[in-house]
Symmetry: C3
Subunit: 141 residues, 3 copies
């Protein structure tokens, strides 16, 4: 990962082979960032994307090995047990003539080609806490 | 809705059952916000999403009862007749193994699980005014 | 294009018939903006969207004449040979009852109806340089 501090946030360039979610979490941990929002564009492969099933209270993830364009990615970073947790949703498009898309919650994804991230650290921390009625760690505002 | 002022904007947590578009408009109205941009991720159900048909000069909306992940949502807030109007587009993905997506202009959507919004209020107001050649209230810059 | 300086960035309203990528590049060039990030919503037609094939080292673009909603668009601006280059990804939805989406890298697109852009100029320049191992001009951080 290459990093550039642009005063109003950080431009991060994740490089081919890096895992997206853990790389952003590690960057925040290293920099002492305790709350952030981000967007990203680029391409990924070896990804898991899916949804939360509120009935079974489990995530389902679809695995895709092939390269997909990151048509959009939006996420945030908040503390859980003192460590930054990345919550990211994305729309990914197939690298064939269909340009067909899938979307949802990103569990993990490996950078293919490049991923260009704009991350804004918040001046106040964000935290997550378990919401027992939902079964998820939601933002605790 | 839970709210947190993070200096560079607001983190809003919309809760299960709240309507997205009217909740964001109400928040801006209450806070005296006269111009804003926002992004959101989470999940919604009971939604209407569609497009503007410039031929018939009418919106078409597709109704979906089922829960969809908000794979992306981008929007802005501007004044119409002195009240904040929310303009939001989204990509929504099905909560099944297809992770298939639909997209467009969001008329309304009910929060399922949670919706995490990052809203930045602008220091100067935005307004919309009817553009007779288009048939829509466009940004008046 | 109509422009409004909102201190934390610019609201741009691109108008029916304007080409998106070149219009944003021209705006940055005119204003001396040497690094920026942006989001946009609206509608476009006469578009080319696709992906980078890292095997053949060529872009593939799908052409669509018909109007599509810009369900999401995220991009950045960086200098190449001293001139602003726009890198934009989008998710576009069909203006029919399917609301079906395609996504990827936007080569060009013509505004249909309107395009509402929020662009934040960075206080430090961004640049791109050829990465021979990838075959693309990547961000040089």
């Amino acid at each position: 990962m290459k990093e550039k501090d642009v005063e109003i946030g950080f431009i991060l360039k994740l490089e081919k082979g890096e895992e997206v979610i853990s790389s952003i979490a590690s960057f925040c941990d290293k920099r002492g960032i305790r709350g952030a929002i981000f967007t990203a564009i680029g391409a990924v492969d070896n990804l898991q994307i899916g949804y939360y099933d509120s009935g079974s209270r489990e995530y389902f993830f679809r695995h895709e090995d092939a390269t997909h364009e990151v048509a959009s990615m939006n996420g945030n970073v908040a503390l859980v047990d003192g460590k930054p947790l990345v919550h990211a949703h994305a729309v990914l498009s197939r690298c064939d003539e269909s340009c067909a898309t899938i979307g949802g919650h990103v569990k993990e994804a490996r950078v293919a080609v490049t991923l260009e991230v704009f991350l804004t650290s918040l001046p106040t921390p964000l935290t997550r806490a378990m919401d027992e009625s939902i079964g998820l760690k939601l933002l605790a505002l």
